[in-house]
């Protein structure tokens, strides 16, 4: 009996030693590549994006530059299937970072996907309901029972639900047709759908569409765009996460500089779905700084919480999502301090007004 006890204690000791050495043994080799997904693609699936600091970072090669010295490749994904495709990709462990609209982000979280929100990717903007040029509709009510185009499962669907609810309607009052962003524009032009929320200016210039109504500035209607890192990657390579965030914040600063406006919007327009005219017109009422802000301020947190509530209200996810512990601002804060940009972007309160 004594012998066995002795053997056992040896074994336990050895195990304990193994436990101690294990973390050291598996620590910190660098990944070969960092995989980042855009929840969207350019017209015809071209690998380009626009409208965010991540898009600027991609277009200007900022992350490639940052990681060149380490031999780490940046692998970009442009998901034609938008936000829902990004969720599938992440569930299959194919990506480490992604930009995401609020609805697919929350839907993914509700099914148990583990990621941390580390950066804002855009906010505010105008909301425009567009109809074909020959449409006889005067109000939304005239479109009852007609076809509305929307990319289902993307933030556009949630925004549409908000707009419909304000007018006393639900999705069920219309025929919702799921189409991707580029096809929505094409279908408006051909009259295959009777209306959609989209940027209209290029279509108007071509004489194929008109605005039914426009909501200029409404911080409770527009949603925030998001950038997250998978928890597994964050745990393994926190220093790399920091460098990614810092590099993107630098691009956010560049994208917020009014001197770069024309160059920036032209660059973003290269993806082809939202044209230069669309950007120029729909962004002219805003300072770049307002819309590009990477901050995770009170407004950001409140918008995410509101969206979580709405996803539940509109029954778009089955399980509840808890915001606690989801948003991780430390990388952003370090980046802001390092780049001396702590006061560059205005902080907004929960209602979307600048904090004094």
């Amino acid at each position: 009996m004594k012998n066995t006890a002795k053997k056992l204690s040896w074994l336990l000791g050895a195990l304990a030693l193994l436990q101690l050495t294990a973390p050291v043994a598996q620590a910190e080799e660098k990944p070969k590549e960092i995989r980042i997904a855009f929840s969207g693609a350019g017209a015809g699936g071209r690998p380009l994006a626009g409208g965010s600091s991540l898009a600027t970072a991609h277009l200007r090669g900022a992350l490639e530059e940052e990681f060149k010295k380490d031999g780490i490749k940046i692998k970009w994904y442009f998901n034609v299937g938008a936000g829902p495709a990004t969720n599938e990709q992440f569930a299959n462990k194919l990506i480490d970072f992604a930009s995401h609209g609020d609805l697919p982000l929350i839907v993914g979280r509700s099914t148990g996907l583990r990621h941390k929100l580390i950066l804002g990717q855009g906010r505010f903007g105008e909301t425009t309901f567009v109809v074909p040029a020959n449409s006889e509709a005067k109000t939304l009510a005239d479109l009852k029972g007609k076809k509305i185009g929307v990319t289902k499962g993307t933030s556009g669907q949630l925004t549409l639900n908000r707009v419909l609810e304000r007018n006393g309607f639900t999705e069920r009052d219309f025929k919702l047709v799921s189409l991707d962003a580029a096809t929505i524009k094409a279908a408006l032009a051909t009259g295959d759908i009777d209306g959609a929320l989209t940027t209209p200016y290029d279509l108007i210039a071509r004489g194929v569409a008109k605005i039914l109504f426009k909501i200029d500035r409404d911080s409770t209607l527009t949603s925030v765009s998001n950038f997250w890192v998978g928890e597994e990657f964050e745990k393994k390579y926190p220093d790399l996460v920091q460098r990614v965030v810092t590099a993107i914040v630098k691009e956010a600063k560049w994208s917020s500089d009014e001197n770069n406006r024309t160059e920036l919007l032209k660059m973003w327009a290269r993806q082809g779905t939202t044209t230069y005219l669309d950007y120029a017109e729909s962004w002219k009422a805003y300072k770049l700084k307002e819309r590009v802000s990477p901050l995770l301020d009170e407004y950001y947190v409140n918008r995410i919480q509101k969206s979580i509530d709405e996803v539940k209200h509109f029954k778009l996810a089955r399980r509840d999502v808890d915001i606690n512990g989801w948003i991780e601002p430390k990388y952003l804060n370090v980046a802001l301090k390092e780049l001396k940009l702590e006061h560059y972007w205005d902080e907004y309160d929960k209602d979307g007004n600048i904090k004094k």
Partner: protein
């Protein structure tokens, strides 16, 4: 050791009870044997599915557990969403089969009955039948848009081919002696059609119709995956967009079950038709 004796004592008694039971079971087993073997593969798949879920071979978000699929199926059934979407799908099938088989029969009769029509039409038809329906869709979208017309047109096209072929073959295979008899009796074309051609070709007509419906069902789902706002295919797209993959599985199950029911009942009908025709022949003798 002492434990063994009571069970031994009971053994003969058990045996007597068991014998008829086991005989019954073996008879029953023999009866359902062939069907039971057929069940093995689905059961194995179900087991593999469950194991894959338990061991998380595939992310839980992408491969939902079987219970969840069953649960969603029941929920959708109870809320009426399943039946309303199924009704939409079935009405699409109805219209397409109506249009497709009308055109198919017309073509089949023309080609089958008239040498001239055959010379003009059959080569083109043969080329047409080589294209899969999916290949037509980009072209159809340009002319018909993405609306109901596209769906009905695409599904109808899938129906036309088997119906035409079966009709044409049915007429072609009518025994020449029947036609000769008709000629001897100086049947009018109307009489020839109603008394000889139709009854003789009826089984192939029906089998073409059955194939047409099955083709329609298979094409339907693909067409509904394109832009649509209702139907079984739409239900599946919707499920995928909101990461409720159980809805995709529910869709698959419904498609399978409805397809099976359609096929079985049409086969049954076909068999009845054959019997009826047979009986008629007997009477005529």
């Amino acid at each position: 050791m002492t434990n063994a004796s009571p069970s031994l004592a009971h053994a003969p008694h058990h045996g007597r009870v068991l014998q008829p039971a086991s005989a019954f079971i073996s008879r029953a087993a023999a009866h359902v044997g062939t069907r039971a073997v057929g069940l093995l593969l689905p059961l194995a798949v179900l087991y593999l599915w469950q194991t894959a879920v338990d061991r998380e071979w595939v992310a839980i978000q992408l491969l939902p557990p079987a219970e969840l699929v069953w649960q969603s199926l029941r929920d959708l059934w109870q809320s009426g969403d399943l039946t309303s979407n199924l009704a939409v799908s079935l009405s699409r099938i109805g219209w397409s089969v109506l249009i497709g088989s009308a055109i198919g029969w017309l073509l089949g009769f023309l080609i089958g009955l008239s040498r001239t029509a055959r010379a003009y039409l059959y080569p083109s038809f043969e080329v047409f039948s080589q294209f899969p329906v999916i290949g037509w869709i980009p072209l159809l979208i340009i002319f018909l848009g993405i609306d109901e017309a596209l769906k009905i047109a695409a599904i109808s096209m899938a129906v036309i081919v088997p119906v035409t072929v079966a009709t044409f073959k049915g007429i072609e295979n009518i025994p020449t002696r029947l036609l000769e008899v008709a000629r001897v009796y100086c049947f009018t074309p109307r009489q020839l059609l109603l008394r000889v051609v139709l009854p003789a070709a009826l089984p192939s007509l029906f089998s073409g119709f059955r194939q047409g419906i099955m083709q329609a069902w298979l094409t339907l789902v693909f067409v509904e995956l394109l832009a649509s706002s209702e139907g079984i295919g739409y239900l599946m797209v919707w499920g995928r967009q909101l990461m409720q993959l159980d809805l995709v599985f529910v869709g698959l199950i419904v498609i399978g079950v409805v397809g099976l029911i359609l096929d079985l009942s049409l086969r049954r009908l076909e068999a009845c038709l054959q019997d009826w025709r047979h009986d008629n022949k007997q009477e005529q003798k």
